[in-house]
């Protein structure tokens, strides 16, 4: 391509610009299966993501997920003829610009609600702003547990928290060991980056290990964006856990996998927090070396959503992954909530939307849309508590699925009743 | 007469090279003393030790009878010693006035306000013939003015003893004469001067005493006429033509 470089994923600039257009109300005729096209006054929703900087790759994925949902919704008449329009803000992966952008979205663009902030750190900052301006905000994928423990009225979380992530990862291990006597999983260790998320993964892993009667051997935390991970792998080799728990951004995930391969380190079982491992670039870059690695994720392609997955793939040439699926879902949650308001004859404003979100309960599928593509069938923002941590307006029923790379493909392996295949054990790294 | 500066058996080695060895001489208060010698004789090195830029390998420097050997260079200003550099070091991004005001502020006058310092600096600039150029940047002036600026800045610290390193190099004979007059005037105002110079005409007309160095050693000292007529000095330094 000469206008831009997108060969490996086929996502070139022309593609992006069409998507941008369809955010508008006027130009959504490109959508396929529409019955009626929304043409009324658009309802504005803000979306804050890292569009530049180190995390731009992930930010772009979110954008695809959101645009995809918006296109579907608007092609089907939007909310009583009013289309949804997304206004993007770029956090640059940093709190301060994120804050200013949030303010722009709220006060300049006058959005009725906001979604976003990919990273928990940035979400921490912008959720305060949303609270302050009393604008409802849903985070699709920020996972730090503390986010929802400040008692904010306007902040909602769809994503399973770190606690849930690690809980399910351990559950998967425990379930497997219970079913197969050949598997001994008595000790665990963690390899993660030395950031908020990595540190929390280590903390929760320790917690869940003890809870499940396993021994926590220790953690190896490296600086994010590592140039080299050989000594980290050596340390893991020395710890030699039965199960290795990892949490890495995609770049480090690629490097870690390659380095483990190069250093000949093959733990019996290695389970990752979705994060980098669910990105398309991960499998592309590691290929067969990824085989055997398990990862917990918020979404997997399967029976439930094959059509959406295929259409998404066709459009963007990128797989729908946990993060983009959650972003997609959040747009639909907004749509459902807005629709409910409209149906009840209530005015569409932030306050009403907040109240609606507090009570909304979505079961199985969205009105006028597909079923919930995430691995659970109910979405509801409820309050809860776990181990002393308060969770407010969090989708407590959320859970994860675990997949394994097998033959360079992603296969779901847990929960067992919905799994495509059995876990390979010991993991066959090639 | 009283000596303001006494150099005793001063030596300096650079990694085995003896740049200055066992040099002893004194500078008489109120007079102009010259330091001459062929290139690489160790004159600048001696200056650098006297002004604290270099620490002597051995030997002593007495200033007004006090041992000042090895003191840090910035202590010298308050004692009343000022110097110029052979390779000029103007403050490039500051005007001529600010260059000199800087000297005045941290010199012995002890000005606290920049306004007073600037007034004093203007006075100095007038005396050194730089007043018209006070708002110039040093880079926009020719060599003679830059040399004057070096001098003016040193003067602004209100020194008792002024060390001048080749302030006349690169000047033509007429300009040299003007510089000679300026230095004479400074001296007449009560400042003792020790100068390094290759221009014999200037040295002869200014200095009461000259010290001749060669290969790091002191060869001879005395009245300019005596030294310049010394056949050995002529052979190793002056050459035939000049005599």
């Amino acid at each position: 391509g000469c206008g831009g470089y997108g060969s490996s994923k086929g996502s070139d600039t022309t593609d992006t610009s069409t998507t941008t257009d369809t955010q508008g109300s006027d130009n959504s005729t490109t959508a396929k299966t529409q019955e009626s096209t929304a043409t009324g006054d658009p309802i504005l929703i803000g979306a804050l993501y890292p569009l530049t900087g180190d995390l731009a790759d992930s930010g772009k994925n979110m954008q695809y997920g959101i645009d995809f949902a918006v296109e579907e919704i608007n092609a089907n008449g939007g909310i009583d003829g009013r289309p949804i329009k997304i206004i993007y803000g770029d956090t640059q992966g940093d709190g301060a610009p994120g804050m200013t952008e949030m303010e722009r979205l709220i006060t300049q663009e006058k959005v009725v609600a906001v979604m976003g902030a990919y990273q928990s750190g940035v979400t921490e900052v912008v959720s305060q702003v949303a609270e302050n301006y009393q604008i409802p905000m849903i985070t699709a994928n920020a996972t730090a547990d503390s986010l929802t423990s400040h008692g904010y009225e306007y902040f909602f979380r769809l994503a399973p928290t770190n606690m849930m992530f690690i809980r399910d990862m351990f559950q998967c291990l425990v379930d497997y060991a219970g079913k197969h006597s050949n598997a001994t999983i008595k000790t665990v260790a963690v390899c993660a980056d030395n950031t908020e998320l990595g540190q929390q993964t280590a903390t929760w892993a320790k917690f869940w290990a003890e809870k499940n009667g396993m021994e926590y051997l220790g953690d190896v935390l490296y600086s994010k964006g590592a140039a080299d991970l050989t000594s980290e792998v050596l340390q893991l080799k020395q710890l030699n856990p039965d199960a290795l728990i990892v949490d890495n951004y995609v770049s480090d995930a690629i490097l870690l996998t390659k380095t483990m391969n190069e250093q000949g380190y093959k733990p019996q079982i290695m389970i990752a927090k979705g994060n980098g491992y669910s990105e398309t670039s991960y499998l592309e870059s590691t290929g067969a070396q990824a085989n055997g690695i398990l990862f917990a994720t918020e979404y997997l392609q399967g029976e439930k959503s094959q059509d959406i997955y295929d259409r998404f793939m066709q459009k963007y040439n990128v797989a729908l992954n946990g993060h983009s699926a959650e972003a997609y879902t959040v747009v639909w949650i907004f749509k459902q909530a807005l629709q409910n308001l409209a149906n009840a004859g209530k005015e569409i404003n932030s306050e009403n939307l907040k109240t609606e979100l507090q009570t909304i309960k979505i079961e199985n599928s969205f009105e006028g849309g597909s079923e919930i593509i995430l691995p659970y069938n109910t979405i509801q923002f409820t309050d809860g508590e776990f181990n002393g941590i308060q969770y407010k307006q969090t989708n407590m029923l959320g859970n994860l699925v675990v997949a394994q790379f097998q033959d360079e493909e992603i296969k779901s392996v847990w929960p067992f009743d919905e799994a495509e295949v059995e876990i390979q054990y010991p993991a066959s790294f090639q | 007469m009283e000596n303001i500066l006494e150099i005793k058996e001063l030596s300096k080695n650079f990694k085995g090279l003896k740049a200055v060895s066992d040099v002893t001489f004194s500078v008489e208060k109120g007079a102009i003393t010259g330091l001459i010698g062929s290139n690489g004789a160790g004159k600048t090195t001696t200056f650098n030790m006297i002004s604290g830029v270099l620490v002597p390998s051995s030997g002593k420097i007495l200033y007004n009878g006090k041992d000042i050997t090895g003191l840090k260079p910035y202590h010298y200003t308050s004692m009343g010693i000022a110097r110029t550099f052979q390779i000029m070091k103007p403050l490039k991004h500051m005007t001529v006035l600010d260059n000199v005001a800087s000297g005045a502020l941290y010199g012995r006058k002890g000005y606290q306000s920049t306004k007073q310092a600037k007034e004093y600096a203007e006075e100095i600039l007038q005396n050194t013939g730089l007043y018209d150029k006070r708002y110039c940047l040093p880079g926009d002036m020719g060599t003679p003015f830059k040399k004057r600026l070096e001098l003016a800045r040193a003067l602004a610290t209100d020194p008792e003893l002024l060390l001048l390193d080749e302030v006349m190099a690169g000047l033509n004979p007429t300009e040299t004469d003007e510089a000679v007059e300026l230095i004479r005037k400074i001296n007449e105002d009560g400042t003792t001067i020790l100068l390094i110079e290759h221009v014999m005409r200037a040295v002869a007309s200014l200095c009461k005493k000259v010290v001749m160095m060669h290969h790091g050693e002191k060869i001879t000292e005395g009245m300019p006429q005596e030294v310049m007529n010394d056949p050995y000095v002529i052979e190793i330094y002056l050459g035939k033509e000049e005599s």
Partner: protein
């Protein structure tokens, strides 16, 4: 014990890459005194060049080295000739060059972001993912090959600077530009060529890296600072010094991580760097 041996071997391999990028900066900063804060971005451009060659023509990163080197040479030379040279005029005010190259770094990063997008991209070579075992130690083949290339490049640069005509001209120009000009050296071309050469070696480093690492627009940040550390520790202008200190840095990182834990790896590296720099300069500028 074998852990330490293995860590040492890894350190050597990682250090090889640091050394190689260090050698490239040695030419530009060490020899030519151009404070180049966009060295990491030159590396990034080299990596993308190598990636494009792989992606479009299936060229093995190692085989692509000559093309990448030539391309980066031309790019670097042009960059120097058109832009950087303008900021070098004021010889003892080098902050301009510093800021200019910071700006160029931001520019290149975002150009890459615009054109290549933010994806992580990899290329593979016939050596990729292959391992060589030497007793208890295993090293990855692409890293080993890179290391050998490093030795070759360092040796070539050493010989070039020391013995060839052009090498002498480079040294002469860096030591005295006017002197070089009146001696018939085309200093402008020499500047451009030296910068080009530095960029070319950054390109070679990039191609090597492509065989086991990945490229993304801000990849240079990781290596840019380290290249400066290597050059300053190795002694300005010494290619052999860069070689040694690159390896020392690699060893420091890997062994340091094993000894004090990975979490404090950066602290160790940076504090050691500061200490070395301070002590070195102390010794050099000691009065008398």
């Amino acid at each position: 014990m074998s852990t330490f041996l293995q860590a040492g071997a890894n350190g050597l391999m990682v250090g090889g890459i640091y050394a190689l990028i260090g050698v490239s900066l040695t030419l530009i900063f060490g020899v030519m005194k151009i404070i180049n804060f966009c060295q990491g971005e030159l590396l990034m451009l080299g990596m993308y060049t190598s990636f494009v060659l792989y992606d479009q023509f299936g060229l093995d990163p190692f085989l692509a080295i000559p093309i990448v080197a030539i391309f980066m040479f031309i790019f670097g030379a042009l960059l120097q000739f058109t832009l950087i040279t303008r900021s070098l005029k004021d010889e003892d005010d080098d902050t301009n060059v510093l800021f200019l190259t910071v700006g160029l770094g931001i520019l290149f990063q975002n150009l890459a972001l615009l054109y290549f997008k933010s994806d992580y991209r990899t290329a593979s070579s016939i050596f990729s993912d292959k391992i060589v075992s030497l007793g208890v130690i295993t090293v990855s083949l692409p890293k080993l090959v890179s290391f050998i290339l490093l030795i070759i490049v360092t040796a070539l640069m050493f010989l070039l600077l020391k013995y060839t005509n052009i090498g002498k001209q480079i040294r002469a120009t860096s030591q005295n530009k006017i002197g070089a000009e009146v001696s018939g050296i085309k200093t402008k071309s020499i500047y451009a060529a030296t910068y080009g050469l530095g960029a070319a070696i950054a390109g070679i480093t990039g191609a090597c890296l492509m065989s086991f690492y990945y490229v993304f627009p801000s990849v240079g940040e990781i290596y840019g600072t380290r290249s400066f550390i290597v050059v300053t520790m190795g002694g300005l202008g010494s290619v052999v010094g860069a070689l040694v200190s690159g390896i020392v840095l690699g060893l420091m990182e890997t062994i340091g991580a094993v000894v004090v834990g990975s979490s404090f790896k950066d602290t160790i590296v940076f504090l050691t760097f500061i200490c070395i720099l301070v002590v070195k300069q102390r010794l050099k500028t000691k009065r008398g």
